[in-house]
């Protein structure tokens, strides 16, 4: 049973980088056989169903063509072991177009020694009239609070799982120069705070988003710090100072004008006549 578990794990790792998300179903007639027709000892033969959607190394070529890559982890890590033969059976509506191997010099499908075995094989599959289901996420979360700390060089984001399922959420800070992501596992109604170093200068805008199950669940925009408006005090002082200066000038002018007018009228009238005796 131990060898079976280990072998299954290797098969899973050959197909996905996320073993926990991988779906594999052993067929009831799976068996471990020793001394198969090739004569090798310790040979393990397994029959299993793989759910195409869960192969993380699968590259969608177009709407209904996929390219799952199968890496031989036996060969990668323990070179004296390798996947000797692979047989692919699929539903009628899935057709194998080709199977390039890496390196090209190897001789699949039956490799009798390590040098003949491929490091990885890529299957080009066309799924006729079959649409792979889009995973639907039931995860829900909200950005509860976002605030800048440490002289706006740090952003603290508090998020809350508002759904009914526990899950892994990814909080992302989008800056001009970097996209930063933090992973956080939250139970229903649980909240948690994560911090990010901020790299853009004050006045710039950043975006915070939270993702769960591959979907964006919430987002917000923030501006770092507040730009101070230019001060109007010098302008006010200048304006206020100009008014009394102008008024004062007018007053002085009126004073001198009055004095001048009086002086002129005295000259025009000549000397005052003597009173009649």
């Amino acid at each position: 049973m131990r060898i079976l578990r280990k072998t299954l794990l290797i098969i899973i790792l050959a197909l996905t980088a996320v073993p926990a998300a991988f779906l594999i179903k052993l067929q009831p007639d799976y068996h471990v056989e020793i001394n198969m027709k090739t004569g090798f000892e310790r040979m393990v033969m397994l029959k299993f169903d793989i759910f195409l959607k869960t192969i993380s190394s699968s590259v969608p070529l177009d709407e209904n063509a996929y390219w799952p890559v199968v890496a031989d982890y036996y060969k990668l890590r323990y070179p004296s072991g390798w996947i000797e033969a692979m047989k692919l059976l699929s539903r009628e509506d899935i057709r194998l177009l080709n199977c390039p191997v890496n390196p090209p010099c190897v001789k699949p499908p039956y490799a009798v020694n390590e040098a003949d075995a491929s490091d990885s094989s890529a299957f080009t599959l066309r799924t006729l009239g079959v649409a792979l289901p889009k995973a639907s996420s039931r995860l829900r979360a909200k950005i509860y609070e976002s605030k800048f700390l440490n002289s706006t060089s740090t952003l603290l984001v508090t998020v809350m799982n508002t759904g009914d399922d526990e899950g892994v959420f990814i909080v992302i800070l989008f800056e001009k120069s970097f996209e930063q992501a933090r992973k956080v596992d939250l139970k229903p109604s649980e909240n948690a705070s994560v911090r990010f170093p901020v790299h853009v200068p004050e006045g710039e805008e950043v975006v915070v988003r939270i993702f769960g199950g591959g979907e964006q669940l919430d987002g917000c925009k923030l501006t770092i710090g507040m730009k101070k408006p230019p001060s109007i005090l010098p302008l006010v002082l200048g304006a206020v100072g100009t008014i009394p200066m102008l008024v004062g000038t007018l007053v002085i002018l009126s004073h001198f004008m009055g004095k001048f007018r009086k002086h002129a009228s005295l000259q025009e009238d000549g000397p005052a006549p003597y009173p009649p005796s």
């Binding site: 992302i172 992973k183 230019p230 010098p234």
Partner: protein
């Protein structure tokens, strides 16, 4: 009264001039410059770099234990090339069939034929340059979403879905401002809870034990590395385990260490330096070594006496580096002789 008017005018002018002059004296405020620009700048600088070059002789005593002639492939692990290490193959007693190398490992493959009970020494000579370094890192950003999703999952030895580890990571690491700080916190947490116990690799799931309501990490360098990788990956940091040799017991410009296969198992030289430690990936700095000292946590601070033989990130097979692997032959004795090349 004219003189009164003059006085009022002069007072008004004086007041006006005073206000205008004071408006000139008030420093006009421009939009504030970012006073904290230094707190936002990503900094990755080498505070120290010191290279050591070694001639490395790896000698393997091979034996055919069977009663017939055996032709077998012999796999010999050699130090792997990476940003702080460079290995050059110089010679070997047999011509290698080919070399297998990728980002994680470098292996020389030989075709060896031995008659019944025959033994032979396979000697490989390499030139290895290892750079010791100390990095100064500030304001390092976290990885982006695709890197987090693709490169921080679990593997056989890294229990990222273990509830206890998730809780520990949340309690100690979520508050960290940057990935370097998170790694330091994780390292300190492991250091304070470490119960050193040498033994075969258990993996992170079996390294964590509870005693008197407290958690402890029990194990040796491999468990430290596995627990570090588990906790940092839960926190969204790309990390991996390194297997290699630590050069101990320097004598007259060289270090010699060996492994001997006996009926009771393996025997090691007193200065055997088989070691495991971890690395974290930062796009701005590349792979950065993490090593737990007796009293401190060292991140991006490693001497040139650590020789890297394999990285474990994508694969999860093999609890350590076997250094030599054969199918039907036996490797009875392995010698590693590091001779310093004078600068």
């Amino acid at each position: 009264m004219p003189s009164r008017r003059l006085t009022v005018g002069l007072v008004l002018i004086t007041a006006g001039i005073t206000l205008i002059l004071s408006s000139l004296l008030v420093k006009p405020e421009h939009p504030e410059e970012d006073q904290y620009a230094a707190l936002r700048k990503v900094r990755v600088d080498y505070a120290e770099r010191q290279s050591c070059t070694y001639f490395l002789d790896q000698s393997i005593l091979l034996r055919n234990p069977s009663s017939e002639t055996v032709v077998d492939l012999v796999y010999v692990w050699i130090p792997v090339n990476e940003s702080h290490q460079f290995t050059r193959f110089l010679s070997s007693t047999l011509k290698p069939l080919f070399m297998k190398s990728d980002e994680e490992v470098a292996i020389l493959v030989y075709n060896v034929s031995l008659t019944e009970g025959e033994t032979m020494w396979l000697n490989v000579t390499l030139l290895v340059t290892v750079e010791g370094y100390r990095l100064l890192m500030e304001n390092i950003p976290w990885l982006n979403r695709s890197q987090v999703e693709e490169s921080t999952g679990g593997k056989g030895y890294w229990a990222v879905e273990n509830r206890t580890y998730i809780l520990v990571a949340k309690n100690i690491g979520l508050d960290a401002r940057d990935p370097v700080e998170a790694c330091r916190i994780v390292g300190e947490w492991i250091r304070r809870r470490l119960q050193y116990d040498e033994g075969p690799r258990k993996g992170a799931n079996h390294a964590l034990i509870e005693m008197g309501g407290e958690l402890f990490v029990r194990g040796d360098c491999e468990e430290i590395a596995d627990v570090f990788v588990t906790l940092t990956r839960i926190l969204g940091i790309r990390s991996r385990v390194v297997h290699g040799l630590r050069l101990l017991g320097y004598r007259e410009g060289s270090v010699t260490m060996w492994i001997k296969r006996t009926e009771r198992g393996y025997e090691y030289s007193e200065n055997w330096g088989g070691h495991a430690w971890s690395q974290m990936y930062l796009p701005q700095a590349g792979w950065v070594d993490f090593e737990l000292g007796a009293y401190d946590v060292r991140i991006g601070d490693l001497t040139p006496y650590y020789v890297r033989y394999s990285f474990e990130e994508k694969g999860n097979l093999g609890s350590n580096v076997p250094y030599c692997l054969t199918r039907n032959l036996e490797a009875d004795l392995l010698y590693f002789v590091f001779r310093w090349v004078q600068p």
